[in-house]
Symmetry: D5
Subunit: 147 residues, 10 copies
């Protein structure tokens, strides 16, 4: 099975069984976001994780091997993004990142936030003016090497 | 003055005077990120903010009016982004957003996080395995209207 | 079923049964435009709407679930648009929007018209110089947040 | 003078004099939107309109001739649009136009709404749930010719 | 049937039966060009035209309905065009249209030639220096509306 | 002088002197369209044509040499075209050319209409249903060589 | 059969039978290059050529008709080219053509080398410093028409 | 001086002095094509070549150093090419190169024709059916290395 | 079989049999990288290599012929690359190559490193600050030819 | 001074003074490649490095500050690359990286080679078959974080 086939089948099974990312995450001891990333094809499952997910979602046997492979990461969406949920983040990177980068260099000097050694957190916050979404990215700071 | 001219001049003056975003932010009672966004051209200053910034950075008089205009927001960078700091966020949106969107709809139903009624927070976190950068986006949740 | 499969099948069935958007809209108590948007894949049906549409159009059972999901919104057309009906609106956004934006900021200050909390209305108007089409967009005004 | 030079100078002068589109529109007996379109370079002024605008905005003499020329219409913005105000309309055309087109053909048969013989109207509407923006496009319906 | 399926099948049948556009055009009382446009998917047939073409080309019954629908017009070729026949016209639009537009505005004032209310004519002309192709476009002139 | 400089200066002078393409064409014994093409940079003037145009438009001496050079032909417009006059022809090539090509091959066999050995004609036609524009392209037919 | 199907099948058969372009060319009295172009879909075979090729390659009967049609010429490769053999020629056109054009106009005046009435020749040349490839293009010179 | 400045100035001087590529080539003992490539910025002159060209064209002293540098090779034209002379070669690479590559591999096995160790030749050929242009590329054959 | 089919099947078989590139490389006496390139479709196998690989991986008989063909080299990935492993190298070429080129010309004069007569080497290096990857490219230097 | 101004001036001065990257590198105790990257705008100089380079190259005083800033990294070349030296590396990433990635994951598991904590080495190697260029990239291996 390819990672794309695992993704498509996983999402269909999750839907049919009425499972949530919360529940799938608990089953493997990971956050809902990471679990979704794993099934969408952006992570390398341990054998245990692969077996648990394959069993809960009743995927075929070879999904285990597929989930344990280091995948070629390709987007599961058209690009530039057309979905309004995704586009708003694209807009943030397009417009505000140079300003954010400038403030970050003030704090850290030259370098980048790693998108590899990084975790993501998503929360729902109730506020007098209405519900808000709070999303955080936490990544290792890497400095440029001199040689 | 155009917003681009205000940006270029502000950044040069900030550099010459050795001012930080932290200090500029304090002067107008806003966060360093928002202050940077304002001077990069992505916000509409109140008269007081505009006057304070113009005075601290010794900008010409008409910078006040320029800072108070609703600007046409264009990126201050090439696109797709070439700078590694910015690209890593582009990569996150490109690869992981559909998985994040999926988890978000589980929490909120159909809709989006507004990129207009939104704030941004940036922190430096020391960790045994090295320094980490933590960035958060906090936006109003908007549901699709039926009609 | 994917949302694309629901769209294709719905359009074929609507055609075969000779149903109009007007009639489908009435059946679920929504406007013809919104009803078309729903079946094209750009809305999240309530259970009642999904069941009614599935029954009228004789779609398979799992169309109900599909119609109730928050979909990834992708265009159902090539882009840039090639159809003359659609291109004319693309041309309007391409050429006239900066002028419109300028007038809007005069009325509202800095911000945007939401394309999420928004409704659309379409009318045929007879005029001495010939038939005219009148289309209106009505969206919530959102102001940029300061922080 | 080119139309671009007329635009840049007009906008600066309008700003300096604190004039509104409302006021400029009244001066030439046209709507604020049309007046903005004219100065942005998307219309052909009559001699009277050209003279009135040139005089109010204190433009140089040859602005009159420039305003009366049929211009090559080029966008006064980057494309695809980056400004959130404009992008939201781009998103509407990208996602919802095929559904709207489908409803329109039900009302009108095959053809298009002209973007040439067309007028635009913009209104601010107060609503219990907050301010809303209402924008309408009114264009001649054109049917395809057979031959 | 989709319009694309009608096109593919029509072209195959026309080929097998050795029919010419000239002959098909005569059968429905239209020009060869318009007839080709209709079957390529760029026109809305009357019931009579649809029935005649379906019968001559021995298409399945539902081709009639398909031919009578207002289609979404998409190109039946890659773009930019790669075929030398088509590319030469693309080159003409790319290079010479601004000069032609300039002359046209001298004759007509500001406006456009409609590509909707338009007919096309194609002729073979023998000339001492060799065969020549003569193609003409005849479209309604539309003036921009003021409002 | 570059051809672009000749173009810009010629158009300004033509405007100031109130000359038409009709008049300029008569002066060199060519059609208005060809004359416009020449000054826009898409033709190689004979010495006589170059001198006459330079003299009527009061261009500097070295415009003569520039007009007599074989130019690198680049578009004098953005691409894809944004002006509605030009876009309508782009739309015709995009949508209808494969159908036209098909009819042309029926008349001529395999080959192309040359866009080099080609002339263009533009006319205004009054019709009961309103003014119409008629434009024709007349080019040598070239057959593919076998070898 | 489409031209693409003829191409795919021809190449497979040629491979299975161990035929060379040299041999196929001899069979129809054409050069190896032209013969390859014909089967790749870039030429219109005479009835005799079509029958000979169909027979040697044991193609189905309707390949004859397909080979005799004037095809829509589309590239049989991704674009820009990714194969190093093809890219080197792309690089030549990208970098050196303006210099070559300049020299050509010195020899020929304004005009172009036709890519329609053109033949191609390919040779292997042994040289002390190693094997070399020699490729030549021979095309009719076309001068721009005045009108 | 940059290579672009050398190019622009050289072309202007060559024009003013009425020099041909033929003559410039003779002066440095190279072909007209190579000489044009050198001045357009696509070659590294020896000291002698640089001095001779600088002297004949009366370029400033530092043109010598500029001509002797290994340049970053960028196109001196828009891309894809718009000039008909250049486009015809682009079309040849786009359409016919896969067929040519196929024949070349029959002669040479896997590999490429170098575009670095390569020479170009251009000739005018008179033919009963009219003037023809003959252009040849002669490059070293490189085989892929195994390791 | 096409080279793409050989690639897909080879990778699946390698996975099922638990073979490594190291082992496959040893079997044909080549490096792991070259062996991977061969199966991905970027090399021309000798008959012996083709037979050995086909036998170990239990591919069908005609894989032998396919592996021995000179393939059209197309990327086996989307482009620009989306996978973070690949993107980092893309970033290096995008940002640092002009600086590297500059240093290379200091060492070698004008010319290029061949990507045809080239080998690649990949190593894992343990370092006190963590594991490092070391990759080297070794290619023949080619100088530009004068003519 | 911007980083681009520092680059342009540095390169001119280096040229005029006949300095090599080797010599500049020695002056700051870094490799020639890193030194070139620094002046091209892809590194953050220490105060000492900035002062030494500014003094050797006789740059204005504020080059020191500019060299010490964390720059926005943009390419100093068109993209995709047109220079043959650079393109060959682009071709390597385009074609061979997926195969290399596959071998790398066999050695390292899932992750990437950092392009931030990375050094580059360039050597000239004499070989019986001619001069060769050897270039190596040495980067920290980063594994994906689980969360």
């Amino acid at each position: 099975m390819t990672r794309e086939e695992v993704r498509d089948l996983s999402l269909r099974r999750k839907d049919e069984k009425g499972l949530t990312w919360e529940e799938l995450g608990k089953a493997i001891g990971k956050s809902p976001i990471y679990t979704a990333m794993l099934l969408y094809g952006y992570g390398q499952a341990t054998e245990e994780e692969a077996k648990t997910l394959t069993s809960i979602l009743e995927l075929p046997e070879d999904a285990i091997k597929a989930l344990m492979r280091a995948a070629y990461r390709t987007p599961s969406q058209p690009w530039p993004p057309t979905d309004p949920f995704v586009y708003r983040f694209y807009e943030i990177v397009l417009l505000y990142m140079p300003a954010i980068k400038d403030v970050a260099h003030e704090l850290f000097g030259d370098g980048i936030m790693s998108a590899i050694d990084m975790s993501i957190d998503l929360k729902k916050v109730e506020d007098p003016s209405g519900t808000r979404m709070l999303i955080s990215f936490n990544g290792k700071w890497l400095s440029y090497r001199k040689f």
